[in-house]
């Protein structure tokens, strides 16, 4: 019994030292491999695009990807809680369009408030359908996604709403101390997401419910409220991101956010959060976001066919999950 069972005084089938070392190596690879991938991609980026690391470029990349990142924070919570949210793109569009529509006739502030409030309502609808009526989250949000999209297209007559007033564009286009406001907001949302997941009772319960719903229920956890809460948060953040994006682009339209669901899921998955739930982290999602954003920037600077970007993104998503599965198998033998 040299080191094997470090955790117990009662040695029940000790793990031999060599095995332990191998497991440690796998664990390190699983935990930090994603950072290595980020470093490699950044190096590639600086080689193919000399301006990549310039402060202006970095700021630009971050602010362009802020809406995606904010959506991904909500998606991380949903996925850790054992769910799935395909409706974030539609909610994103609902909020941006509503904000822009209202801003053209009334004040921009009212527009943002209504947009975000609508996101809350959409999230609540998802939560009720999934936890009350027990509809599979995949199906529920696929359905609600087309429901939300259809409604906003009807209301907006499928028109884009251009808003040039500064009261509308400040949210996406002002700078604070030289940094774009969306980037700062992204930072704040990530920080809050991290706090919720790692430092709050609620976050702990999201992890528990995602990891073993029956055990959590038997322990007296209100699993429906916990899981439902993740959809509400996700809806809220998607709507917030939609408002920021509309303000950045000075336009709100029902077709916005078409790829938001898949991209945000890609960000979460590349970071290594398991689609099975119960496991994952905000920092990983942040790294996933940086990887996708860097890739995006590389292809943008190369000015090649954007289809290549799709292809490489696909490969990275599948590769990340396959690697993660491999490590998992190695850990459990």
């Amino acid at each position: 019994m040299t080191n094997g069972t470090s955790t117990e005084t009662i040695p029940v089938g000790p793990t031999p030292a060599a095995d332990e070392r191998r497991l440690d190596a796998v664990r390190v690879a699983q935990n930090y491999g994603i950072y290595a991938v980020l470093v490699v991609i950044v190096i590639v980026a600086t080689i193919v695009y000399s301006g990549f690391l310039s402060p202006d470029n970095i700021k630009l990349v971050l602010s362009q990807n802020a809406p995606l990142g904010i959506v991904a924070v909500g998606m991380t919570l949903v996925i850790i809680g054992g769910g799935f949210d395909l409706s974030v793109g539609a909610i994103f569009a609902v909020s941006g369009t509503a904000a822009a529509m209202i801003a053209t006739h009334h004040g921009a502030a009212e527009g943002f408030v209504v947009g975000v409030a609508l996101g809350l309502v959409c999230g609540l609808i998802n939560a009720i359908v999934i936890t009350r009526f027990r509809v599979n989250p995949f199906v529920a949000t696929l359905g609600s996604s087309s429901l939300f999209s259809g409604v906003i297209m009807l209301i907006s007559n499928s028109n884009p709403f251009f808003v040039e007033k500064t009261s509308f564009t400040w949210l996406g286009q002002t700078k604070l101390l030289g940094v774009q406001l969306p980037t700062i907001l992204l930072g704040i949302v990530f920080l809050l997401g991290w706090l919720v997941l790692n430092r709050s009772v609620y976050g702990r319960r999201v992890l528990a419910v995602g990891g073993n719903p029956e055990a959590s229920r038997l322990a007296g956890v209100r699993t429906d409220l916990v899981q439902g809460g993740t959809y509400v948060i996700s809806g809220l953040l998607a709507a917030f991101a939609g408002a920021i994006s509309a303000s950045q682009l000075s336009v709100g339209q029902g077709t916005a956010g078409g790829t938001m669901a898949l991209q945000s899921i890609a960000v979460v998955v590349i970071g290594g959060t398991s689609l099975l739930g119960g496991e994952g982290s905000m920092t990983r999602t942040a790294v996933g976001l940086l990887i996708l954003a860097t890739l995006d920037n590389i292809f943008f600077s190369l000015a090649v066919d954007t289809n290549w970007q799709l292809i490489s993104q696909g490969i990275i998503v599948i590769g990340a999950v396959a690697l993660d599965q491999l490590f998992r198998r190695m850990r459990t033998k």
């Binding site: 955790t7 009772v201 702990r204």
Partner: protein
């Protein structure tokens, strides 16, 4: 044994009146009246499927009663809601583990009742409290370890900690000792007594009747979903209990043994595993059951796992029917190339597809024998499953219901039948009777012996030494990863004491018996 002070307290903690519960056509609990006094340890015993877990489940809110009335400390319990039972200060340790494998050990203990302040979790306070609990339990568990990486026994301790750390007035324990070692078991029994003396009422389910008699104040026997009798523990003997549980006199495995004459099927020498096993040599013959006895942690499980290819770090030399074969490096290799199968100690999840029916599970590995042209013949499959389950006295007729509907012990029986049906030439069996009632235990052990008599080699281990003595033709006592002694059951008749003496190295340590193969060659 029974403290007068607590018995004098006549207050009733639990009163069940005409409580029933059925699942479809299965009547799990019928018309049970039960009253449990405040501050007593009340044992609930009965054969597999008698309805014990269902009764506890109704008190814990996991299962709603179909009929009848539940009262806890004078207050009516609606039933079917875990939170309601929690609010009534009821805590339970379920028969199946309810661990969240990806959360830390400490987080599991405080699941649902996280220590926090204004919604923020107080991780340090939880770790401190967890460390206190560990000290109280006299174990050392790192609170930050992910629970899924701990042994089954440790996970079981976490569940017990979870139940105990809460302000609990009624504690329900469903076979809490099944996966614990002797030391942990003794600790738990001591803890139960201490809690009782502090006024906690405990209902305790166990198939270990010695334990039941040692710790409880009152025993209730259930059979076929009904309560048979409740009486103070002093009025029961072990064989009374068995008789009340099964309706028949207790059976035993015959200990008559002839020296096995078959060829040596498996011969392993110098088996080593860093940190667990040191140069163990052993052999088994066709038709022989080799028992491994030893304390928990002595390396019995590691030895079986090494032979089954589950310990890649293990080493040794292997001969199968006299021929040199490569040392197994993966379970696949062990099974396909060497025909060695292991029935592992932690069977839950590994052995069964819970949503699938009993026949589907039992015949999973040899569907070919019950199908024609790629189509499964339902009737042949069912007939085969019934034949295979026959020796195990399942309380329900084998049919196309999902395995999840069986009681804990019932599921174990299905796993056993499935593994025996795999029909390997070397069968390794770890803890075959965990969760199985006393009467069925005998049947299980007989089934293992019959399996060997078909010309198979069996290596079996159990933490219950009595059981190893009952079933084996030959016994190796494993002491700290080495062979500490050997008994030939056809010529010797050692008792539990003799085995324990060896296991604790109380015997003359200068003359360790090496393996028999060494003497023969």
């Amino acid at each position: 044994m029974v403290p007068e002070a607590t018995v004098a307290d006549r207050e009733t903690a639990v009163r069940c009146t005409a409580v029933s519960r059925s699942f479809g056509h299965t009547k799990a609990v019928v018309d049970v009246d039960l009253s449990v006094r405040r501050g007593e340890i009340h044992a609930l015993v009965g054969a597999n499927g008698a309805g014990k877990s269902t009764l506890l489940g109704m008190l814990s809110g996991r299962i709603a009663p179909s009929d009848g009335d539940l009262q806890i400390f004078g207050r009516k319990l609606q039933g079917g809601r875990p939170r309601e039972s929690r609010a009534a200060s009821i805590a339970i340790v379920y028969q199946e583990l309810t661990i969240v494998p990806l959360l830390s050990a400490a987080a599991n203990v405080f699941l649902g009742e996280e220590l926090g302040h204004g919604g923020a979790i107080e991780e340090r306070r939880m770790q401190r409290r967890f460390a206190e609990l560990c000290r109280e339990f006299e174990v050392e568990i790192d609170g930050t370890t992910v629970a899924g990486e701990l042994t089954v026994a440790t996970q079981q301790l976490l569940e017990i900690m979870r139940a105990v750390q809460r302000q609990t007035k009624l504690l329900l324990l469903d076979e809490p000792t099944a996966s614990l070692s002797h030391r942990e078991r003794d600790f738990l029994l001591g803890l139960m007594r201490r809690l009782r003396d502090d006024g906690v009422t405990i209902i305790f389910v166990s198939h270990n009747l010695d334990e039941v008699i040692a710790v409880s104040d009152t025993v209730t026997v259930m059979r076929n979903a009904r309560k048979i009798e409740t009486a103070p523990v002093g009025r029961w003997t072990k064989s009374d209990l068995v008789e009340a549980m099964t309706g028949e006199a207790p059976a035993r495995v015959s200990r008559e043994r002839r020296a096995p004459r078959g060829e040596v099927v498996l011969e392993a020498s110098d088996v080593s595993l860093p940190g667990a096993l040191v140069d163990i040599s052993l052999d088994v013959r066709a038709g022989e059951v080799l028992g491994l006895a030893g304390l928990v942690g002595s390396g019995r499980t590691s030895l079986l796992r090494s032979l089954a290819g589950l310990e890649p770090a293990s080493s040794g030399t292997l001969k199968i029917r006299g021929k040199d074969r490569p040392w197994p490096r993966s379970p696949r290799q062990a099974l396909r190339k060497l025909d060695i199968a292991l029935l592992p100690e932690d069977r839950k999840g590994q052995g069964l597809v819970l949503g699938m029916s009993v026949p589907d599970n039992v015949t999973m590995t040899d569907l070919g024998t019950v199908s024609r042209g790629g189509l499964v013949n339902d009737r042949a499959q069912l007939a085969k499953a019934r034949a295979l389950m026959e020796p195990f006295r399942l309380n329900r007729k084998v049919d196309r219901y999902p395995v999840s509907e069986l009681s804990g012990g019932g599921q174990q029986k299905v796993v056993l039948a499935k593994y025996l049906n795999q029909n390997p030439s070397v069968m390794l069996v770890d803890e075959p009777t965990r969760g199985i009632d006393v009467a069925a235990k005998v049947e299980v052990l007989n089934a293992v012996r019959e399996f060997a008599q078909r010309g198979k080699a069996v290596i079996l281990t159990s933490s219950e030494i009595e059981e190893v003595l009952d079933v084996s033709d030959r016994i190796l006592v494993i002491v700290a990863g080495r062979v500490g002694g050997e008994f030939e059951m056809d010529s010797e008749s050692p008792g539990v004491r003799d085995v324990l003496d060896l296991a604790f190295e109380l015997d003359d340590p200068t003359a360790p018996v090496t393996s028999r193969s060494a003497e023969e060659s």
